[in-house]
């Protein structure tokens, strides 16, 4: 049963928070970081439109639960440390 207008949040808001949408399943190519090449410039972190590039103060990593595989990080990486690999 779909919900009535009194039962749903206002403002066109889905009744599931954004964190529940695991958009990682959309991916057909997966960014893989070569930490040997990475210079930690964080350009990938700035450019990622999904906030899926993580920085813990020491190392860059990808949050694969949400990364949609758009490849912007790989395109922007100045030292070509990110490779887009086809998902199995």
């Amino acid at each position: 049963m779909k919900k009535g207008w009194r039962e749903i949040p206002i403002a066109g808001m889905p009744w599931v928070p954004a964190t529940e949408y695991k958009t990682g399943s959309w991916r057909s190519f997966k960014p893989v970081i070569d930490h040997g090449k990475c210079v930690k410039c964080l350009i990938c972190w700035v450019y990622c439109p999904e906030g899926s590039v993580k920085w813990d103060g020491n190392k860059v990593s990808i949050d694969y639960e949400y990364c949609k595989g758009c490849g912007i990080c790989a395109e922007e990486c100045p030292v070509k440390a990110i490779e887009m690999l086809k998902e199995e």
Binding site: W5, P9, I10, M13, P17
Partner: protein, 407 residues
């Protein structure tokens, strides 16, 4: 009532001054005549650091309102202003702002839509947005423009309402005309509307979320809705509009006790209507002239009155009906026209109000003042005289008339 400073300001300056006092976080606006002074004046306040506001000088009105939508979605208090073709360019985002339930306040300085190109006043710009789910308040003078901007934030941000508000002021007649404007002390304005906007909590997936963009509690704003839920979301907007009149009246009462100023009940303002047989209905600055003519004609023994519709959206149907019931002849003055329709937008709604009544006033539509054509006391007197002629006679065929038009 507290003591107030009196400043010489035109309508645009009065709006900018009110915005300065409202602790607005973000203003994104693009200049367009006759609204430019608002943006100019406000950017002076920003340059002088009299406000903490982030001023975003965008490249178009479409961008202006888009920036406002983004800013408002984070929970900020947001203002913009525009006129005519600027508002038309915003059109797409006007609907989006309302559907996202963002309490943005926008001053619309009424100007004729092109073409042919014209910078002067009529209501074609804001009337084209009347179905967009924005509250619309039409002001009569610079003082009311100032007062209404302050009230608008309190109305828009009310959790029962959460709709954006347009405060309109007639281009040049109000925007560029100097007037003594009483202003409240800064701290009184802030204690009236609240220092910061308070966002509501909504239930998402069984958990409470603040309705705002926040990385700590991520929410999705503006997702694809389609036939699954779009209709239900529109019904919620209908409900918000239904709840708005009570809030507008309450804010109007509270503001009156603070400032000593009120405009009818906030929705409509009757003037010498009680015993009137003949009445005109109007919006905006024309009502000032109409009241002057009413006084003059009453001295000459004519039983006339005026009803100003201050809030056009939501349409104060019950208030208008109550005030016009029992009048013999009513002239509805429209400063815009719906081409191919029955007449102006104010007329068609008032006509519809009485459609199921057997005892109803004879209602005549006067379209006037398009493109800034002056509505002089003489023209309004002529309207009253024509209406007065209809007493005791059947409704004539020509219910759509043009006042001030050369044949």
């Amino acid at each position: 009532m507290i003591s107030q400073q009196v400043l010489g300001m035109n309508g645009d300056e009065a709006v900018a001054y009110a915005v300065k006092q409202c602790n607005v976080d973000v203003v994104a606006a693009y200049p367009i005549t006759p609204q430019t002074i608002i943006v100019e004046k406000f950017s002076e306040y920003v340059a002088n650091r009299e406000v903490h506001t982030e001023f975003v000088p965008v490249e178009s009105e479409h961008s202006a309102l888009s920036a406002c939508v983004g800013a408002s979605a984070t929970g900020a208090r947001v203002f913009t202003s525009t006129a005519a073709n600027g508002l038309a360019l915003m059109h797409e985002i006007v609907y989006i702002a309302a559907s996202l339930r963002l309490p943005i306040v926008m001053a619309v300085v009424n100007r004729a839509l092109s073409g042919p190109i014209n910078i002067h006043c009529d209501h074609s710009d804001s009337m084209a947005e009347r179905d967009s789910s924005w509250i619309q308040i039409y002001t009569e003078d610079a003082q009311e423009a100032y007062d209404s901007v302050i009230q608008a934030f309190k109305i828009a941000e009310n959790h029962e309402v959460l709709l954006p508000v347009m405060v309109t002021l007639d281009g040049f007649f109000i925007s560029h005309t100097l007037q003594n404007v009483s202003v409240l002390p800064d701290k009184e304005v802030l204690s009236f509307i609240g220092e910061r906007r308070v966002v509501p909590e909504i239930d998402v997936g069984g958990k409470k979320f603040k309705l705002k963009l926040d990385p700590v509690q991520p929410l999705t704003f503006g997702p694809l809705d389609l036939y699954d839920y779009y209709f239900e979301h529109k019904r919620q907007q209908v409900e918000a509009m239904k709840k708005a009149p009570k809030v507008i009246e309450k804010v109007s009462r509270e503001y009156a006790s603070l400032s000593g100023r009120s405009y009818g009940n906030g929705l409509v303002e009757p003037y010498k209507l009680e015993d009137a047989e003949v009445a005109v209905v109007c919006l905006g600055s024309t009502s000032g002239t109409a009241k002057y003519v009413v006084d003059d004609l009453r001295k000459r023994g004519l039983n006339v009155g005026c009803l100003r519709v201050r809030t056009f959206r939501p349409f104060p149907a019950a208030d208008i009906k109550r005030n016009l019931t029992g009048k013999e002849v009513v002239g509805v003055l429209d400063r815009s026209i719906s081409f191919g329709g029955l007449g102006g937008p104010v007329f068609t709604e008032i006509e519809a109000l009485f459609s199921d009544e057997t005892e109803k006033p004879k209602i005549i539509n006067y379209v006037y003042g398009l493109g800034g054509r002056d509505m002089s006391p003489q023209l309004i007197e002529k309207v009253f005289m024509e209406l007065n002629e209809l007493k005791g006679k059947p409704l004539p065929k020509d219910t759509l008339r043009f006042s001030g038009l050369r044949e």
